[in-house]
Symmetry: C2
Subunit: 130 residues, 2 copies
DNA sequence: CCTTGACTTAAACCAATGTTGAACTTCTAG
DNA sequence: CTAGAAGTTCAACATTGGTTTAAGTCAAGG
């Protein structure tokens, strides 16, 4: 019979994950210490990440470009199970996109506020296009 | 004959400006120390701001909501003369609006990147609307 | 077995954007 | 003239998002 013990998915060291996702090892440790990433430990106390953490980390960077704080990203990633399947990633990207759209709408409302002129400097309104 | 010496426009103390523009006095001092605002000094070394600094300060806060750093706002305000006329304010708001539109475009490109799925997590693309 | 590179933690440091406090001065109204 | 409100400077603190460094441990190849 083929073995009974759970097959380990490919485990990554801090450096592996950092290289694979394009961040510094110190950033990986920072994210883990702030709960954005989780990992197991070897007998010698070294971190071992799963393969999906490469995607997680890439999502973290994109979310930061959108303007989310580490706390907000943590909340966002809380939706994502430890071993995500395709549908989980899809739900995550949809949440993230909703957030981006929200930020875009906010910027548009600032734009309207500026364009209306009045509130800021008693100016006559201006065409708000680029 | 009507007087020869320049008539002083209404001068504002730190507290006056803070109240009028809705920021803390410490923030006013911070902006002045970083060159976003300029002021004269009384014989006793106290700051006196012009009336237009109320608008300047409001612009600073709006620019911050847009995501500009203090350094960027300083650059933006460098366009604005010490005693701005309407056209100066208009040019400023147009610059600021261009900046907002730029940030909106950036967010839209992040949105496309997320929606395309591929690069982030090898996902199939997703409808990128809200 | 031993060397070497990668890992560990903790703490210090950085830049940005202010706030807070101490100690002192100035301004203004009565 | 004098009390009290509001101003001054300087330095320390707070928060965010990490990086750097020190001192020491682990893992893997020869």
């Amino acid at each position: 019979m083929t073995g009974g013990v759970a097959v380990r998915q490919p485990y990554l060291t801090v450096g592996d994950l950092a290289r694979a996702s394009g961040v510094a090892p110190s950033a990986v440790r920072f994210y883990e210490s702030h709960g954005l990433l989780t990992c197991e430990r070897t007998a010698g106390n070294q971190r071992r990440f799963g393969k999906s953490d490469v995607c997680r980390t890439k999502v973290i960077r994109v979310a930061q470009r959108v303007g989310l704080s580490v706390a907000e990203i943590k909340a966002l990633l809380a939706e994502l199970p430890a071993d995500p399947v395709l549908a989980d990633w899809e739900r995550l990207t949809i949440s993230l996109m909703a957030e981006v759209n929200h930020r875009i709408r906010q910027l548009r409302s600032v734009l309207d506020e500026i364009a209306s002129g009045e509130e800021l400097c008693h100016l006559p309104p201006v065409d708000r296009a680029s």
